[in-house]
Amino acid sequence: MTTVDTLILERLDAANLPPMSVDLVVGALLGPAEFAGALGGAPPPRVQPATETIDEPQPTGTYLSAIEVTGFRGIGPSATLDLVPAPGLTIVTGRNGSGKSSFAEAAELALTSDNRRWSGRTQAWREGWRNLHSGEESRIRVSFGVAGHHRGAVVERHWSADAGLDDATAFLQLHGKPRQPVAELGWRGPLELYRPFLSYAELGGLLSGRPSEMHDALERILGLERLVELETMLKQARKEADDQRKVGAGLLPGLRTALAEHPDPRARAAELALTDLDALAMLAESGDDLHDVPLAVRQLGAMQLPVLDDVSAEIARLRGALDRIAALAGTPAEEARKIAVLLDSALAHQREHPGTACPVCKGRDLDAAWVDEAQLEYERLTLRAESLDAAHRLVRAGWQWLRAAVPQLPAADIDGMSAAREAWQRWTDVLTAENADEVAAAFDGLHAAAEPIRKTSQDLIAARRKAWQPLVVQISTYVTAAWASRRAAANHTALQKAITWLRGVGSEIRNRKLEPIAQEATEIWNLLRQQSNVELGSVRLAGTGPTRRVDLGVTIDGTAGAALGVMSQGELHSLALALFLPRATADQSPFRFLIIDDPVQSMDPAKVYGLAEVLARVARTRQVVVFTHDDRLPAALRHLGLPARIVTVNRLPKSEVVVDGDRDGDPALRYLGDARAIASDDEVEDSIRSTVVCNLVRDALEFTGQETVRIRDFRAGRPMADTEADLAKAKTLNEVMILTLGAGNGGSYQGALSRLDPKAREVVRAANNGAHGQYHGAVLHDLITDAERVIGKLRKP
C-alpha cells in the first residue's frame, strides 16, 4: 500500500459517494482481480488506511569522484576531472571549446547511454562524438563514491577504434567485485526521475516543451503515478461500461424487427415482454412447443393412411363375400329360412300324422318319400341361409374396416386441400354407396391426394421449428447482453462519480505532495530573480488528460497573467532551474551529485549572484558540479564569500585538455590568500591586522576540517545525515579539529595536533585567540605559512 493509497482511503470515508462507487475505488486500490469483482457486483473487503507512516528507505547515496575521458568530443589524450565525493560546490570554468562540456557530456553518456544534446538530433550530430586527435580507442571512466562502499564504484564505457557511438562496451565495477552490466546499478528509473544532468539547452526546453511533459515529470518525482494508474483503471472500466451499456440497446431494434416479422405467437409474447428480461428469458427457454402451428396442420402432419396392401386384402375379402352373395342370389336368406321353418313344421306334423295328405294343399300324401325329400330340402335351405348371413357379415365388416381405416381429413388451410377434399368426398361417396368396385380406385385417389398435403404440413412444422430456433438464440443473446448492459449502466454511473471524486481528491493530494517542492522552487526563484519584477507564487499541477499542465502562479509587478509569455529568456532559464533543482535534489534520489552545464548564459549579472547563492545552498547537502564558460559565477561566489572549489579546464593544441586548480579555486587557500593581503598592509593597525588574519586562518582550518570529515566519513560508508549532525554540533574550531583528527578531548587532542604538525597546536591556538583580538604570536606571515602546511597535512588521507 503506497502513501497515495492511504491518502485516498482516508478521504474515502468522508466522501459523499454512493456505496457502489466506494466499492469500485476500494477494488481498484486492491488490484485488478478485486476491481473486476467490484464491477461484477461483489463488494471488495473493507480496507483500513494504514495508520503508521511508511518510511521510504533512503537510497544509497552516490557522489562523483572523477571523470576520466579519452578521445571523446573535445578531449583527445586522457584527461581527468577529479572531484571531491562529498557535498560541496565545484565550478569548472573554461572558455568555449576548452573541453569542459565534454566532461559533462561524458558523465551523462556513461550513465544514461544517451545525451540530451544529441538525442533526437540527426545522424550528423551523433557522428561527431569521437575526438579527431585521439589515438585508437575512446573511453569514458566515471568513478563514484558510493555510501557504504569503501572504495566506490566505476562505470566505464569503451569504444574500439572503428566503433560507432552506440557500439560501446560498458560495465560497472564495485571495488573488489567482478564487472557487472551497468543496468545492475538500477539507475534507469532514478535517472529518468531525478536526472542529475542539466544543460543549458535542456533548461530552455523545460518550460518551452509540451506542458504535459513538465506535468508528468513533476508527477513522477512526487510518486503520483499511482494516482494516474488508478484513474486509468477506472477510466478504462468506464469506457468498457460505456460500450457495454449500449450493447443491449443496440441489439434491441434487431430483435424487435425479428420478433415483429416472426409468425410465432411466442414472438408476440416476447414483444410484450421486452423490458421484462426474466419473462423474456423464460420465453426463450420454453423449448420446442408447436402450439403455434394450427391443430389441423399438425393432425395432417401426423395423419396415417392404411397401408395399400392391407386395403387391397380387405377389398379382396369384401369382393369375395359379395361374390358369394351374388352366387346365392334368388334364394334370399329370409325366404329360405322361412321355407325351412315351414318344412320343419310340416315334418313335425308328418311325424304325428304319418301318411296323411298335406294339410296345406290337401294334395300329396306326406309319406316317407316326402319326408326324405322335405328333410333334404330343409337342410339345404338352412345351410344356404347361414352362408348368406356369413357373407353379409363379411361385407359389413369389410365396409366398416374401410371406413375406420381412413381418418377424417383435417380441415387444414394449406395448398392441395381441394384435391384432397375431392378424394375424401369420393371415398365417402364410395363407402356410402358401398360400391365395392370403386373402392380401390377411391383409395388410390385418397393416397395420391394425401401424400402432398401431409408433406406440406410436415414441412410447415419443420419450418416453424427452424424459424423459431434462431430467435431463441437471439433472445438469449439479448437477455444476456441486456443484463450486462444494465449492470454496466449502473457501473458507469458509479464509475463516473468515482472518477470525478478521485480527480478532486487527486488534485488535492497532488498539490499537497507538490507543496514542499513548490515552496522550494519559489524560494529558489526568489533568490534567483533578484531584481526581476516576476514573482513566482504557487506551483500547481492542473488539468487532466491532454490538458494536464503545471500552473505557475507567476505575477509581474503584482499582476497575474500569461506570465511565461512575457518573461525573458534568462528569466525562463532561471525559472526552469528553480523547478529543476528540487527535482534533482529529492531525498529519494540516489544521486547526491548534480551536473549543471552553463546555467549562466543569458543571465543578467545580478542574477548570477542569485544563482551563486542558490548553488551554495544546494551544495550544503549535494555535490554540485557547475560548468561555466566565463568568470561571472566564480566571481560572484568569491564576492559573496561562499565556499566553492573552482577548477579551470584548458585545451592545448591537439585536444590535450588539462584540468588545473584555479588560483582562487580552493576556499581554504583563498582564505589564506586574503589573510596574506591583509598581513602585508602595514598601514593597518597591528591588532586589526592580526584579528582579521586569525579569523581568516580559522575559516580556512574550519573549512578544511569539515571537508576532511565529510570525505573520510563518506569513504568509510557512514550515513551522511550522521556526519552532518556531528558537524552541526561542532561549533568551535577546537570541536571541528577534534572531529577531524578523530581524537578525544584534552591531552589526546593536543597530542594528535602535535603529531600532525609541530606548529599545529600553535596555529590552532593563534586562530582561536587572535580571532578575538588577542594575538601574541609570531609574525603573521609565518602563521599563515604554518597554517597552509597544517591544512595540507589535514587533507592527506
Binding site: D604, P605, A606, L640, A677, I688, T691, N695
Partner: protein, 118 residues
C-alpha cells in the same frame, strides 16, 4: 558630501536622469552609490579603526567581515563588487538596469544604516 546626500542624489538620478548624462547615467549612478558606500565605510572606520581608512577596499571589506556583523559585511562586499562592475565600461556588457541599480542602492543603504548604528 555625506553618504546620505549621495544616496539621495543617486535615487533622484534613477527616477529622472539629467538630460546631460544622456546614456551614461547608469554608470554615473553606480559610481555615486559606490562613492556613498566608500564614504560610509570611511566614516565607520574613523570611529572604529582609523588605520583602515583609505586602505584598499579588499582589505577594508575583509576587515569589515571580522569587525562588523557578517551579514552587513557580506552586503557591503556584494554591493561594492556589483557597483564596481556596473560603473565601468565593459566592451560586451551593457550598463546595469534600473532594477539592478535599485537593488545595489538598497543593499548599500541597508549596510550603511547597520554600520552607522554600531
Amino acid at each position: 558630501m555625506t553618504p546620505e546626500s549621495l544616496l539621495d542624489a543617486a535615487h533622484a538620478m534613477l527616477v529622472r536622469p539629467a538630460p546631460s548624462l544622456r546614456t551614461c547615467w547608469p554608470r554615473a549612478c553606480a559610481a555615486v552609490v559606490r562613492l556613498a558606500l566608500e564614504l560610509g565605510l570611511q566614516r565607520y572606520w574613523q570611529t572604529r579603526a582609523p588605520s583602515l581608512e583609505g586602505r584598499p577596499m579588499r582589505h577594508q571589506l575583509l576587515a569589515l567581515a571580522v569587525l562588523a556583523d557578517n551579514r552587513t559585511a557580506q552586503r557591503a562586499t556584494l554591493a561594492w563588487h556589483g557597483l564596481s562592475r556596473a560603473m565601468h565600461h565593459h566592451t560586451y556588457e551593457l550598463p546595469a538596469t534600473v532594477a539592478e541599480l535599485d537593488n545595489w542602492l538598497e543593499i548599500t543603504e541597508l549596510s550603511l544604516q547597520r554600520l552607522s548604528k554600531e
